[in-house]
Amino acid sequence: MASSVPQQLLRLALPLIPKSGFTAHSLQLASLSLPAPHTPPAPGYTTHTLNGLFPSPPPLPYTSTHSLSREELKADAQGSSLETERVGPAMALVQEWLAEGRRDMVGRIREVGVRGEAGVREGLRQRVRYNEPVLGQLVQALALLGAPTTTALSSPSALLPFPSPAPHLSHVARIAHDLAKVSGDESQGADWYLSRARLGTIYGLAELHLLSPSNALTPSERVESTLELVDTLLERSRSMQKSVEGAGAFAEWVGKSWMGMGRSLGL
């Protein structure tokens, strides 16, 4: 299937992330591997080209603290303003990396051929392991998710003094939905929401654990301890959900977990 140049570029940049990070630089390096006739001369696509391929508004202070002067507006339109460090390219790379993580997780569940709770466990483990090679850059990547993609003109939320939690919620919710779908979850009505809330909470807590600073541990030790946590969370939430009196406790657990995650995200 023919894919667009930005799409090809993102896919080529994925293997470069462990070394060059979720940065425009990874994309610049990747551009050198684009097939002809798209291959740019070394050192690859310029920042302006990348900003054009993955558009985003100028950085926040620049737009919201004062209105632009005539000169600044002109410079901005020409793409030659001094402030060229924009989040668009890096953010697109993060999104592609997250999408690849879900494909990898779904592929693993199908490959092993397990469904139900066993499928969920397999998928969660795979998704946790997927983080290992980029563990050092992960905090930066997830922080990028909360950066404004719109200017204050089109969405007042860009003016909020803290990052928007919506993109992080949707990253976790998508993982939960894919897990439920591929493991053959057929719950209906309110249960549809509950099963996804449970899986999202488990992955959210696991991710948080993975990111918590623990200098004593190597990346693979951190992953191992997170996998243990996943098993504990699966077990605990399942027994809560099964018992009738557990329904309230389950809701409380989901609520408290997310409040905790919110605090850790700096909200």
Binding site: K181, E186, Q188, G189, A190, W192, Y193
Partner: protein, 267 residues
């Protein structure tokens, strides 16, 4: 099972005055009561009926053990969702399935509420008529439960609310008496019948896809539309239009249904 077209039924209704109508027509819906599978339940906590051969819905229902093996549809038609839809088509498909499942949930609960009241009264025949219509709704909800999973559609977030509202409407109108209950059925089934009809047209208009699940969905919507109009006939035969303040009651209920439809398509 009568397979009348929507148009002919509505003209019939317009022409017939209630008193002559009751004399001319059958007492209630034709057809033997459905047989239910020994296990499984729907999202409305009802039994799942066995498939009736020759009906489109049979693709989603368990076959009767004694029945000859059903004509096999391709698994694609009943187990996968088209991936080549435009965003517009995808939204339409999801809205149709989400709102219809919500509507069938409401219908099940309305009849359950009416039955709860009439089963305690002296008129056993009336309880049977309601039971017969409720049994029809069990087939509808069972099929939409399958469609929700197959097409990966998020169910309405207001699931618990529609359960309470449906039961209250059913039990409430039944407490007002037989004619009020039938007026409720008449109003609800009119709106649902019209709604199915417009969905069939919308599918024909906007879906030039080769995926076999779409023609199957259209046939199912047509089958259910005809079922609903049979319920509508039953209500009119049972003097729905002789309830005091019939016009007001049906206008209120129909407005409520249209509001619920508008909300459930999106939420």
């Amino acid at each position: 099972m009568a397979m009348r077209s929507f148009a002919s039924t509505s003209t019939l209704l317009l022409r017939a005055r209630p008193c002559t109508f009751t004399l001319l027509c059958r007492h209630h819906s034709s057809g033997p009561p459905p047989i239910f599978a020994p296990s499984g339940s729907t999202s409305a906590h009802t039994e799942i009926p066995y498939a009736e051969p020759n009906l489109a819905s049979s693709a989603y229902l368990p076959p009767q053990p004694s029945a000859p093996p059903p004509e096999q549809l391709s698994p694609e038609a009943t187990q996968s969702t088209p991936l080549d839809l435009t965003p517009e088509q995808r939204r339409l498909l999801e809205e149709i399935i989400r709102v219809d499942q919500a509507g069938e949930l409401g219908a099940n609960l309305i009849y359950q509420g009416q039955h709860a009241v009439f089963a305690r009264g002296k008129d056993k025949k009336l309880a049977d008529i309601v039971q017969h219509m409720w049994d029809g709704e069990k087939k509808h909800i069972a099929v939409f439960d399958k469609l929700i999973t197959q097409h990966d559609v998020r169910p309405t977030a207001l699931y618990p609310l529609w359960k309470v509202a449906g039961f209250a409407l059913g039990a409430g109108t039944a407490l007002l008496g037989k004619r009020a209950a039938m007026a409720c059925t008449e109003a609800v089934e009119t709106v649902i019948g019209e709604h199915y009809n417009s969905q069939v047209e919308a599918l024909l208009r906007t879906f030039p896809t080769n995926h076999p699940s779409i023609p199957l969905l259209r046939q199912i919507l047509q089958e259910f539309r005809d079922d609903e109009l049979e319920h509508l006939d039953t209500a009119v035969e049972n003097e729905s239009q002789m309830t005091p303040h019939h016009a007001l009651l049906s206008a209120l209920i129909a407005a409520g249904c249209r509001g619920a439809i508008g909300v459930s398509e999106r939420v």
